[in-house]
Subunit: 385 residues, 2 copies
């Protein structure tokens, strides 16, 4: 596929036709939302104009997609420095693609006024708490059911997220699953606050007697002790849906953590088959039939080419190799200062923005210079009306 | 369409091709669940082996579809006399059709362990309470959003329900909307307990100073004062989805009440356009573009030919004419006594059984004698294992 604005960041040999297979089926987008107390630790998240607005971010993002405005916030989420939530990219792409959109609730503190697929009802705690995610097995199973339901339609399934603080829980889960992630994750601020996040992850792991790779053979426990609710749900959806349809994990660092979780679960099936929840057996058997050749990750170039992160290194360490693609979004010529700030390292990704931009480019053969005005139009409709 | 086991009960002239249009698109099934305190009034509902199990019925039905068993009950819901929930018909048809299935939660007391589209979170109260359904406008709007989302896929949308006590709230809402419904509704017991339900409806209307047709120009208030949460959500889904795809309201009496609500809303749009909820304007405009030629009702012959009811009279009184079709299910030759009891007037309909049986017959050209063994197989898998 030679589309100038799409970057092949990492591509195992036997997956070179992934994007071609994707665009044979119409896209269907889900956004899995969750909140955690990890996001409330000062410095972890820049998803919100001020710290007290962080818990509203995910609800506001999905309300913006449905209503064109965030009912719970007034406008849409913003970075403290000004640039708007990447949901404006998502909205522009969804409009262009005319794709169906479902919200999946993995456990969010603020309930948006939109219909949601409920996979979980409890927000995550902090990764420094004894248990960061409650009922992790149930979350995974609900994800498996959602994946089965969505795969009955012949779509390319694009699985986004809105989880403030999610790159920190991603780093922690990757480390517990044996991936050297310290200093390599991206995030929503220039430089990504690597030191602060790294100290936090190291402290949490030390307090729980965990080292790199300790939980490789017990992957859901990595989520339970250090992760966030989205990770378990998203892995379940992707694993069951991938049996039938192509699945794009829509995000950067956070989706590499989900891919690590999927790979570890497939390499260590007893972690699942030993589950004793009622009704789980058929679902687990189904999840273990996941086809990783049907799974890829898609993000923005702001993440994939982020000099303060190292996505290529993370991809190379995955327990099961997957491709990573990026939408070559470039806001440097935008007529809005707040969009230009994306070029300085603010925001970068979220709400499936990268994968949806990539899909708009892929399905409609668009380049950045054609897509940018559509994003600016969404921005103007929200801010200048 | 000449399929021996499908009965055309009522068909306006300009809708003669409805079923033909339906079967050009693959089916997608939703089941909207809700519970109410109306169902707990003795004699109103037979959905549950004993009165204390009634609140579990809807949750158990949808768990059975997902897991093959009801996690919250052990088996599946039963009528006190023995016959099983009509969910066995639904399950057999879904398997045959390989159709996607989504649960919509309009407000259910017991939360099933399945992913649900949340449209509402509060169960209904009794129709004798000052307000039977809270936040009825929000429920309708959430339905409109769900309808938009589901209509992006080219499907025939089949909208079922599991709402114990729902024929009583249906009778009440129809009366308030000007339809002579007393003595004409069907229900899940032989004879349908018409007197008890009628007394209850008349008392509730008297206490609220309502007569037949009082709320015809204010239809959502009829639901608010006398109905159940499913009715508002289902009307919203059907109205917005019908702009793009065929919609089968899957049920008997309860879906005629939903059709009455839709017709009244279309005839009295100011009841919607005067709504002031934030974000509602675009959704209301969308709902008012409903295409009634894309809406029909489908039920079982046990309901349509029920001598203790009069579905034809109800259909003739609708504010906007719609077709009613019935699946000619006949369990008299079943090898199971509990299924034969359906022929004596027990159960009759629910969980979209009629519309799904009709769809299995329609899409796969099946007759009752071919479909019955599939239903018996589901029954045996649940009860004889």
């Amino acid at each position: 596929m030679a589309i100038p604005s799409i970057i092949t960041v990492h591509e195992p040999v036997d997956n070179h036709d992934f994007l071609e297979r994707c665009c044979k089926l119409p896209p269907l987008f889900t956004c899995t939302i969750a909140s955690t107390e990890t996001a409330l630790i000062p410095g972890v998240s820049a998803a919100g104009a001020s710290p007290e607005l962080i818990p509203y971010t995910a609800a506001a993002d999905v309300e913006a997609i449905i209503y064109g405005q965030a009912l719970c916030l007034g406008k849409i989420p913003e970075n403290p420095v000004g640039p708007p939530s990447p949901v404006i990219i998502t909205m522009a792409a969804l409009k262009e693609l005319n794709a169906p959109f479902f919200v999946v609730d993995a456990g969010n503190a603020i309930t948006p006024k939109v219909p949601m697929f409920t996979a979980g009802r409890e927000p995550g705690l902090s990764l420094t708490a004894p248990e960061a995610v409650a009922k992790v097995e149930e979350l995974f199973l609900q994800g498996v059911i959602i994946g089965q339901q969505l795969a009955t339609n012949k779509h390319t399934l694009i699985l986004g997220e809105s989880v403030p603080g999610g790159t920190t829980t991603a780093m922690a889960v990757m480390e517990a699953l044996g991936i050297s992630a310290l200093g390599k994750i991206s995030g929503s601020m220039p430089g990504n606050n690597q030191n602060l996040k790294q100290e936090l992850v190291c402290r949490a792991m030390r307090e729980k007697n965990l080292g790199r790779g300790t939980l490789l053979s017990d992957p859901l426990t990595a989520v339970r002790l250090l992760g966030d609710p989205m990770q378990a749900v998203q892995a379940g959806i992707a694993m069951s849906a991938s049996q039938k349809i192509p699945v794009l994990l829509a995000g950067g660092t956070q989706m590499i953590a989900v891919a690590a979780l999927i790979g570890a679960l497939l390499n260590h099936p007893t972690a699942l088959t030993s589950m004793t929840l009622p009704g789980s057996q058929g679902l687990i058997n189904s999840a273990l039939k996941a086809q990783t050749k049907n799974i890829a990750i898609a993000t923005t170039a702001w993440v994939s080419e982020d000099k303060s992160a190292d996505l290529r290194s993370l991809m190379e360490q995955l327990p099961q190799a997957l491709p990573l693609y990026a939408a070559g979004l470039d806001f440097s010529s935008s007529r809005h200062k707040n969009l230009q700030l994306y070029e300085e390292g603010y925001v970068k990704e979220g709400v499936g923005a990268g994968a949806l931009a990539l899909s708009a480019m892929l399905y409609h053969n668009l380049e950045n210079r054609e897509f940018l005005p559509m994003i600016e139009k969404v921005y103007e409709d929200i801010y200048l009306c």
